[in-house]
Symmetry: C2
Subunit: 414 residues, 2 copies
Amino acid sequence: MSVGIRHDDLRRRNRAMVISAVRRAGQPSRTEIAATTGLSHSTISAISADLIQEGILTESKASEPTALKRGRPQIGLALNPEAAAVLTVVLSLNFLSVAVIDYAGQVIAEEQRRLDTLVMPRDELIGECLAIVRRRLQDPDLDVSSVARIAMGIQGITDSHSRAMLWSPITPLTDIPFADILEREFGIPATMENDCNMMAVALRWRAPERYRDNFIAILLSHGIGMGLVLKGELFTGTHSSGGEFGHMIHRPGGALCRCGRRGCVEAYAGNYAIWRSAMGISEDAAPIDIGDADMRALAAKARQEDGPEREAYRRAGEALGFGLGSLFALIDPAPVAMVGVSAAAFDLIEPALREAIARTAGGQHSSSISFDTEPNELPLIREGCAMRALTFVDQEIFAPGVQARTDAAGKNVA
Amino acid sequence: MSVGIRHDDLRRRNRAMVISAVRRAGQPSRTEIAATTGLSHSTISAISADLIQEGILTESKASEPTALKRGRPQIGLALNPEAAAVLTVVLSLNFLSVAVIDYAGQVIAEEQRRLDTLVMPRDELIGECLAIVRRRLQDPDLDVSSVARIAMGIQGITDSHSRAMLWSPITPLTDIPFADILEREFGIPATMENDCNMMAVALRWRAPERYRDNFIAILLSHGIGMGLVLKGELFTGTHSSGGEFGHMIHRPGGALCRCGRRGCVEAYAGNYAIWRSAMGISEDAAPIDIGDADMRALAAKARQEDGPEREAYRRAGEALGFGLGSLFALIDPAPVAMVGVSAAAFDLIEPALREAIARTAGGQHSSSISFDTEPNELPLIREGCAMRALTFVDQEIFAPGVQARTDAAGKNVA
DNA sequence: CAGTATTTTTTTGAGGCTCGAAAAAAAGCC
DNA sequence: GGCTTTTTTTCGAGCCTCAAAAAAATACTG
């Protein structure tokens, strides 16, 4: 269970620490790395010499006019873009997108495709995913052997081992072990994770000063999803990707949710719920998918006049507020990022949301809770997948340990 | 932030690992320790020789008739009871209890006292706590200098640094930094933690086969509290002790809760709420404290005939069920321990609870969720405090590192 | 009861790792 | 060109863990 630290683990961990310091800082000098890691200069010198020799890091001599300072100039260390590559696959409603990313994090190729995910049979859906990946891997500009990891992100519930999609709103199919399928087909280690979790990972890399130890990313789209980072770690359920914020109960026995149950937060705040409410359709009506353009038009109408549209957004805000309040009762308030098409209508949602939060246990300091909005979720999800894959390469391939292989799946560092 | 591993940390961590293996296993031989920690026999031999020489461990030669086996008999290693002592303080409604516990975990002295916590002024409440601790420390049988830690547990919200009580239902007073007060008075490092979290810690030591990586301890008493262990770690909020399960919103705008808000789970499932409902008192009525005997009588009545009493327990079950369902939507189902006087009436609560859970996102496998009951919370809380204090001594005093002192507060290992 | 087998524990030497101090390198400053 | 300053490398010392061998302690066997 709890295992002692072997002597050889030491070097492994410190190698990983150096790589991670370089990835975070961009082009740190050896001295800076020594400062952030707390290791001695000699150790950093030895480790970075190894890493450079192995082609993982490079000395970015052209560090340019590094502020005319006295003394020997610092030599920046950078990730060698050619050390490896990773591939991201993002599958969302009617949309499939793939990107190839070099070891330094730059996109070097991408491809997107529209699909009818809601009606595709199992084989076809899997086939499309495999085909688009295969096309990218066959790109003559790409050295296939350098592709070290495939990270897939999907809207829906995944298992906690990052292997399979268990359930998803974008397809009636269930239990598709995408990670295993990709691994078997291409011989490249793969993972499959929840889209909102990937959003959270990406936010952490994008704006670490705001999103670091504790924060929440909420997807306001067809459904309501959540990615949660607590104490610097991505929070997942014990069996599944967890964080099914959208399916916390807002009103027991209330409106019909896409999941088939009643009274979920999503049944009041998902696109279909806002639409249903604005159009005066019964709360018992089966959820339908609304296009982004329609939602934008609805928001415009709600801004224009105080009618049922505005009331629909108010009710969505109330549901989100009570949900967040219950969540805050458990974890204390934290910064929130609202992502997705309805985040663009957050001005309509916010007043009722804040009012509801203020009436809950978590809302004692509701006015100090800060919200950010980001209408476009796709780039975030891809970025999260990329960082997830790259940190895997950093830790498990370039700083391998004895039990690397067994641990690989269970890691959870955001 | 993320800090590299120094060479001297290695020995420190492995020392801690050995101590923890002995605490967990009781009287393991060196060979067993080598097996569980994964370290080599020589390393274990060297470390345990040190620990014995320092008086932290002892060879319990009298390991008795250790199953007639061939070969050199194993020598059991045990914690030396005299290596240190810790003191636990448990403060709950109208009740203060202190115990002195030796390094091996045995209670060597205790004292209990009735207080009127609800009406005591600040100075008096603090004074009583200090006085009872002082009396125990002045016991001539006790070597004061061996007392290495004081762990206090309290019903209410504490801060995440384990220093202060922020709010509590047992007193109108707020923000009492008990840990600092005790430290300053006695010069012994102290912590102050939430009672339900301590219950969870204790359950983990008592029955690790059932309560290990993921489980929930719920206190059903005057109020509703929760201790949550996820991935083997005690879950706390980011600022406070968190896990305010009792104050998740069950029905927006519903029954009046002791916290002053409306619709909390506690406002339907706390002792006062069950009483209010059974007696036909308005949901808007101010909460009153009900004695344990009255609650037991109420439960007896509810079992006897299908009247308002039974209905009150049914509604409590429903509130708990929806709350648990929302919680399970976030963290996936886990074993639950119901603790406290109303846990003795769990037979009345369970049917409605299971029914409600089944109607939530977390309830897909509601029938497989298992509940345990334990009517007496006090021994659990004390045990948790003791284990918390002892593991601190294990890790920070007997396996000290450079930054031991700064880390001390922030630790969170259950 | 002595010798052998078996298992646990200790000892010993080798190899690695990190650290501090000193040396070397590479610039600006005067 | 020499001096100062800062960064990086080199080197020897000190620990730590490990594997293998040795020692210790008991049961079995004839």
